[in-house]
Symmetry: C2
């Protein structure tokens, strides 16, 4: 019923997968976009746009905000990353090859990590609720809820 979920996947594999996804869609996985995606994947946890920005520095300084926000817009549009509105942070999608991201984001209020937990039942319950309320759901429906993860509870 509930899908197993792997975090901290191999960054190389994630990059290769992202490249393939973009090629299949005729989208350009440029160096900037690749760089931002790599930083998000390697972070392994939700990161802010400005954290990415500062990590993009190196030579003389970091780029301007629009640079990273544009890359993020692209990556979101292609389902490679998600924006966690409750945190104003961005996180890599666990399964960018599938079009659907049904389920729920479980955001830990202690360590800040987010689990993209796929669960058909949640997706169906939300869809049903929306229908009954006369709402037509949008494409990117990924509810976020707060709580404490197992690691943090156990100490």
């Amino acid at each position: 019923m509930s899908d197993h979920n792997h975090m901290h996947a191999d960054p190389e594999a994630a990059l290769a997968r992202a490249e393939r996804v973009c090629r299949e869609r005729g989208a350009r996985f440029t160096s900037q976009r690749r760089r931002v995606y790599e930083l998000i994947v390697c972070a392994g946890e939700p990161v802010t746009a400005y954290e990415l920005l500062h990590r993009m520095g190196g030579d003389g300084g970091h780029p301007a905000p629009p640079t990273v926000y544009r890359a993020l817009d692209f990556l979101q549009a292609h389902g490679l990353v998600h924006r966690l509105a409750s945190q104003s942070r961005f996180v890599a999608c666990d399964h960018p090859e599938t079009g659907a991201h049904g389920g729920v984001f479980l955001v830990c209020d202690r360590c800040g990590r987010a689990l993209e937990w796929q669960d058909e039942r949640v997706a169906r319950a939300v869809a049903r609720s929306a229908r009954e309320a006369g709402f037509e759901l949008g494409d990117e429906v990924l509810p976020e809820v707060e709580g404490t993860c197992g690691d943090c509870r156990r100490g």
Copy 2:
């Protein structure tokens, strides 16, 4: 199963109800808090903190941001208003007397209005999903999803 939901409730009734809720909890419903709450209730739709701020003006000018954010913190803590993270806006709760706010926020991407749709099934599905993932859910669990409301689809 799904609860009927009334928006645009009588502001006077809402204020009286809020006052009662605070009194029962030993919390002080001060004039600032009352003012902010009234503005949110009367708005009838999600509003930003700065919209509230500017509407609080009148005599010589509006107060400083901390004033409204402090009132909002209080109102949120007592379940009188909710923050919609996906919009960075605040909206009055439909049923502040009950401790639980289980269900889902249906946020319209056209008119911007938000429906606090109570639905036990969504609440249960999310709770079950969290449990299976080893998460302990927090108190204020109100997932938000985007879509188009019935009025906007028909109109």
